[in-house]
Symmetry: C2
Subunit: 372 residues, 2 copies
């Protein structure tokens, strides 16, 4: 039964959406337990409101008692805001919902945490408190983006501005494991983001990562939990074709690509709105086209793939989008639960623990000691 | 009267689109002269076809004679293919249309060249033959992308994988000049692409470029041809909001962002097609919505902003998209003509010639000597 700490205060919408999200997630997964981390009166108030809404809707509270028996409120007086710097969040917000949720994972009271808060702060706190798994150099952030036939899983989306060749190789290995464990991709095809000119000089890091990945994919045994197919270089547009399952890049490039996607989608939406409301005829066309456009929107709805996994830490951390509503947050909680149930951390340890020969319990104990 | 060398053989569509494009460009601009560089028989054949098509359409060839008096065919037996590596293109394709068009600029017979060919090969040939202007460290590629209110001009889109802080500063200066000279933006607002976390460590280059740009923008006199307003850091989604006119980044990031845009737009188009043809009702909706969707498509049509300027070289080089049709190529030729007419090269020289104190005719002469 996975226990997940949910930071219900952070993000643009806070407890008003995160508390109902907790109830949705508990209703969807009978094996789930949740720790709701936030200001106790706010959280209890939202829980009471949900109960009242349920009663008003004529719901007989069927299962409601059961849901509540699987959640516990953990008081956290402070909140990390969207504008707090990572440093401020670490130094001055030790009693924030975000920090306490991470602390609960560190203390072993929860196996994963989910937050819709400030990415920079969450990355910093998660690294500071949990530390990377032995042999993992850097923990990237990975998320799904829609492609022509399903989803492409992309990392790093911004946890590490730069990445060495070895780090890119580790991102690929971890990305393939998340794709398999959390998203059910049996034998992930992994591509390395480049700009297509293989012979251009100057990007030695990517060329070196390419060689490492080719070698690693070739030596992996079928059935190895870290097995993947290396597809070589891919370009920006290949993120969306469905020809690879995992796209690997550094956090700077990944973040720019992610924000660019969001920007293009917003621009197209804005242009469609403007054109469909321009004249009486186009307003009529909008009425007729609405159901079809809604289906297009639903297929690309970011809430369907909410929940970016911060992979490679001593604990599972899932970043939910800052503007997440209850449906999106519940989805991120489900992602965290899957990561726990499928043994994501163990698989990452096994795959990277043996990489550089220096692994084993000695290092693990040292890591655990250092973080105490 | 600007003279422009048009490589009519390169690109996915070649002479079949580039030759009619030349006639469109000449018809649109009575001050233009064109050198059509390509296999003479192919080019003459296309010219004859255009003439025949005109006659068949009942056109009295009004102006046709005049158009043809402003074009000249320059024979080039070879063609750089889309798969030729930059090195192969330089070493083995000295008689290609791309190379000869660049040579014509170098020899002073043309003031600019336009090609829809292989970007890597064009970048390499242009740098090899023309060299950078004195004090310009690297020549970036700049193009327009649509935003909510018009266009954002973005550079570098792939000529230089990495860029130092000084190079990013130069890109900003050159970008502002192109925005003003070619695109008529009176006082360009320039943003530096980042991932929004100002305090994250590790990206010293961008922080340093930020400081250089802040200092430079502050010291520029009103009316200086290189005057611009520095807007600080922007993120991927800001490319599309219209809050800045110029977005500066290194060629790796810029190219990934550009291809990502294309990928998202293609994905959305594909989903719309699929949904609008899914059922009888949605096919009917497609009929009603078509005129509106066409207007959305037209506003975002890449042909409207075709023509990426390779800025900072001893000569104007414009890269037209590989899949450009005649309308798009004609647009790229018009962009090249504007760059020549407005004195783009002179403005870049003036703006960057004085930057590092070591400028002046001595260096310029040395640069000119080195390229002979």
């Amino acid at each position: 039964m996975p226990v997940i700490a949910l930071d219900v205060m952070s993000g643009d919408l806070g407890a008003r959406e995160c508390v109902p999200a907790a109830l949705l997630a508990l209703a969807a997964d009978p094996h789930l337990r949740l720790l709701l981390v936030g200001q106790r009166d706010v959280v209890e108030g939202e829980l009471a409101q949900s109960r009242a809404a349920q009663r008003a809707a004529g719901d007989d509270d069927r299962g409601g008692g059961d849901l509540r028996s699987r959640l516990e409120v953990v008081d956290a007086p402070e909140v990390v805001t969207m504008t707090d710097s990572p440093r401020e969040a670490i130094r001055r917000k030790k009693h924030s919902s975000m920090r306490i949720a991470v602390d609960l994972v560190h203390a072993g009271r929860a196996e994963a945490m989910v937050s819709s808060g400030n990415t920079g702060a969450l990355t910093a706190i998660a690294h500071f408190v949990l530390k990377c798994l032995p042999q993992v150099e850097r923990a990237p952030i990975m998320s799904a983006v829609p492609n022509a036939s399903g989803f492409t899983h992309m990392l790093d989306l911004g946890a590490n501005l730069r990445a060495s060749a070895v780090q890119l190789e580790q991102f690929a290995v971890m990305g393939a494991i998340v794709a398999r464990d959390v998203h059910g991709v049996a034998s992930p095809r992994v591509g390395l983001l480049n700009i297509g000119e293989e012979e251009i000089k100057g990007h030695e890091t990517i060329q070196e990562a390419h060689a490492l990945l080719r070698a690693r994919a070739a030596t992996l045994a079928e059935g190895d939990p870290a097995a993947f197919r290396y597809a070589g270089f891919v370009e920006g547009h290949d993120i969306f074709t469905g020809e690879v399952d995992v796209v690997v890049t550094d956090g700077f490039t990944g973040n720019v690509a992610l924000k660019t996607m969001e920007g293009v989608a917003a621009l197209i939406t804005q242009r469609m709105r403007a054109e469909f409301s321009a004249t009486a005829a186009s307003k009529l066309a909008a009425l007729v086209a609405r159901p079809v456009l809604k289906r297009v929107g639903a297929a690309l709805d970011p809430r369907r793939y909410n929940g970016a996994v911060m992979v490679g830490l001593n604990g599972v951390v899932v970043k939910s989008h800052g503007r997440s509503d209850r449906v999106a947050v519940a989805r991120a909680v489900a992602t965290a639960a899957l990561a726990v149930e499928r043994g994501l951390m163990r698989h990452v340890s096994q795959a990277l623990g043996g990489t550089h020969g220096a692994g084993g319990p000695g290092i693990a104990a040292e890591g655990a000691g250092a973080r105490g």
